[in-house]
């Protein structure tokens, strides 16, 4: 480009920007720093957040976001203590935390369907939750979404943990199923089955979401932030939903953006990773993105009560809100 054209174009751009009407979300002044724990390692499943960051939606809203890939439970504790203001966590964590006095509130539903399921090799003949009776099922441990989703699935068939053998195998579901150490494994439906199928295994999958609707992953904040800065909550929710919408509308673009944020994604098999993204998108879709289904929260509470993880029912109206979803 010719040197003299640069000042000219800059002045035109300046003039145009001065004439343009600023959107309500454009904020002048220093950016508000937000550290956002996501509860898992960098992954294509976080594409909506990468898209929102890359397209400048956070910056437009006056936010400077820093993703944090630490443990989900630590994130909930930090938000509960108001050390952090936001985190992305699974629905059950909100109820478990509130039962211990952590004032966390779920403000935006990302996953509309619970992402957990049970996978088994086809020769096991496990097609419905009732088929799990008497089977040996591997799961990371007796905690977290894999455990709660599995129990919800068992309850849906009138079964309980006593009807199966649960093996705590750490996050080794793919290897354990491949090596026939387990009859079935509790998995994230968008992740492990794709990896197993990519390795040539034929699987049966039972999705929790096909049997019971449970409150799933979404954005949480705390009561202090809700009270003191509802505008901030609205801004981050809005930004997140824009990233989510863009990802659903153009997953290829979202994938390309994610390459910058997910280490080794460039070296991974694109077809497999795109399948993970496609499956994730199936769990995100809704008529109104971000809106929580009150019945899903009630179902989650019932499951936790039945498992003994909650001693008594909570006031669910304080656990989640749709106030920030337009």
């Amino acid at each position: 480009m010719h040197r003299r054209t640069i000042p000219f174009l800059a002045s035109v751009a300046l003039a145009l920007s001065a004439c343009a009407t600023p959107t309500p979300q454009q904020v002048a002044g220093p950016l508000t720093h937000i550290r956002l724990p996501l509860g898992y390692v960098p992954n294509i499943q976080f594409a909506p957040l990468y898209v929102a960051l890359e397209k400048g939606y956070f910056a437009d809203a006056g936010l400077e976001v820093e993703f944090d890939y630490s443990f989900e439970t630590d994130a909930v504790s930090l938000v509960g203590a108001n050390t952090l203001q936001f985190a992305v966590v699974s629905g059950e964590q909100v109820l478990l935390a509130r039962a211990q006095g952590l004032p966390v509130v779920y403000v935006c539903a990302w996953y509309q369907e619970y992402p957990v399921g049970v996978a088994s090799k086809v020769e096991q003949g496990i097609r419905t939750p009732a088929d799990l009776k008497g089977k040996k099922i591997g799961l990371p441990g007796l905690f977290g979404a894999n455990y709660i989703g599995l129990d919800a699935l068992l309850f849906s068939a009138g079964l309980s943990e006593k009807d199966v053998t649960l093996d705590s195998i750490g996050f080794n579901q793919v290897a354990a199923l491949a090596a026939d150490q387990e009859d079935a494994v509790s998995i994230y439906t968008a992740n492990e089955p794709v990896q197993l199928k990519a390795q040539g295994y034929e699987l049966n999958e039972i999705r929790v979401a096909d049997y019971v609707q449970l409150a799933s992953n979404g954005l949480i904040t705390n009561e202090a932030t809700l009270g003191a800065d509802p505008t901030l909550v609205r801004q981050i929710t809005s930004v997140f939903l824009k990233g989510l919408t863009d990802t659903i509308e153009d997953p290829d673009e979202a994938y390309d953006i994610s390459l910058k944020y997910v280490d080794e994604l460039a070296n991974a098999d694109r077809a497999t990773q795109m399948e993970i993204l496609r499956r994730s998108m199936q769990l995100w879709r809704a008529d109104v993105l971000g809106r929580s289904d009150p019945q899903a929260w009630q179902n989650m509470q019932n499951t936790l009560l039945k498992m003994g993880l909650l001693k008594e029912p909570l006031d669910l109206s304080k656990a989640f809100t749709n106030e920030f979803i337009d």
Binding site: F71, S77, A81, Q100, I169, N172, A175
Partner: protein, 264 residues
């Protein structure tokens, strides 16, 4: 030999015990004061009272005894396996330079392995049952005991070997009458370290994937934001480590009664 390190008059020993108790009380008071003044919520820092009440509840419902028993079993099996292998290999290496050259890359590498990283693999290879935890425990115990066995056996004065040979002592007599007693002080030093490390080994295995044990209890406490339960499990682990250390120290005192300074 009243100036021998570690030998104190009875009154001084009593004073030292009192200092220990006083230090514990000061620590508890400081903890209590922090929780009182900072008003940190219990899920961030529970007070000593919260932890005590959780401890009582876990004892009452039997869960603490059950999980402590599971961890203790893993520790004792892992400790036995690790110490057994380390002693045999350590003795062989001490006696053979060729063997030392052959094995030392593996032995040093075994110490450099981050167990937290390979623990999930061990769970895949050996299953989620007790064996994988015992193995992790044995691996962490192995190195300090091995090194101290080698050092202990090699520290036996050559003159004593010559003396034994001049008395026509057989190989097993040299081992039992000379090498074992002479290397015992150093060996038991390694065992002290190994015994305390064994607790970490068992818990690492349980944190990766287990449905019983104190590591599992920590996972449950974290998963349910029951930080007091995490503290209870951690304190029990500390108590177990202290007990194991105390047992080895007691064994040391009994086995090494022949050391002159212990007689005083």
């Amino acid at each position: 030999m009243s100036d021998t390190p570690g030998v104190l008059p009875r009154a001084a020993r009593r004073n030292q015990s009192l200092i220990g108790v006083a230090s514990l009380i000061v620590g508890l008071l400081a903890w209590w004061l922090i929780t009182r003044t900072t008003h940190l919520p219990a899920f961030i820092l529970p007070s000593p009272r919260d932890v005590w009440l959780r401890f009582v509840a876990a004892v009452s419902d039997g869960s603490l005894a059950f999980h402590t028993g599971a961890t203790l079993t893993e520790i004792l099996l892992g400790l036995s396996l690790g110490v057994g292998l380390a002693t045999i290999i350590g003795y062989a290496v001490a006696k053979s330079r060729a063997l030392e050259r052959m094995l030392s890359p593996y032995l040093v590498a075994s110490q450099a392995i981050p167990l937290v990283a390979i623990a999930p693999l061990l769970v895949i290879w050996f299953g989620p049952g007790m064996f994988s935890k015992v193995l992790i425990c044995a691996m962490i115990v192995f190195f300090p005991v091995l090194v101290n066995t080698i050092v202990g056996v090699r520290a036996v004065p050559p003159a004593l070997h010559d003396l034994m040979r001049s008395l026509h002592a057989r190989r097993e007599q040299i081992l039992l009458k000379l090498e074992v007693p002479a290397s015992l002080p150093v060996f038991l030093g390694g065992l002290r370290i190994g015994a305390t490390l064994s607790v970490i080994g068992a818990v690492v295995g349980e944190l990766v994937g287990a449905d019983q044990g104190l590591g599992f209890l920590i996972n449950v406490g974290r998963g349910q934001y029951d930080t007091a339960l995490v503290f209870v499990a951690v304190f029990v682990l500390i108590a177990v480590a202290l007990c194991l250390y105390g047992i080895v120290a007691w064994l040391e005192a009994r086995a090494l009664i022949w050391q002159e300074w212990r007689k005083e």
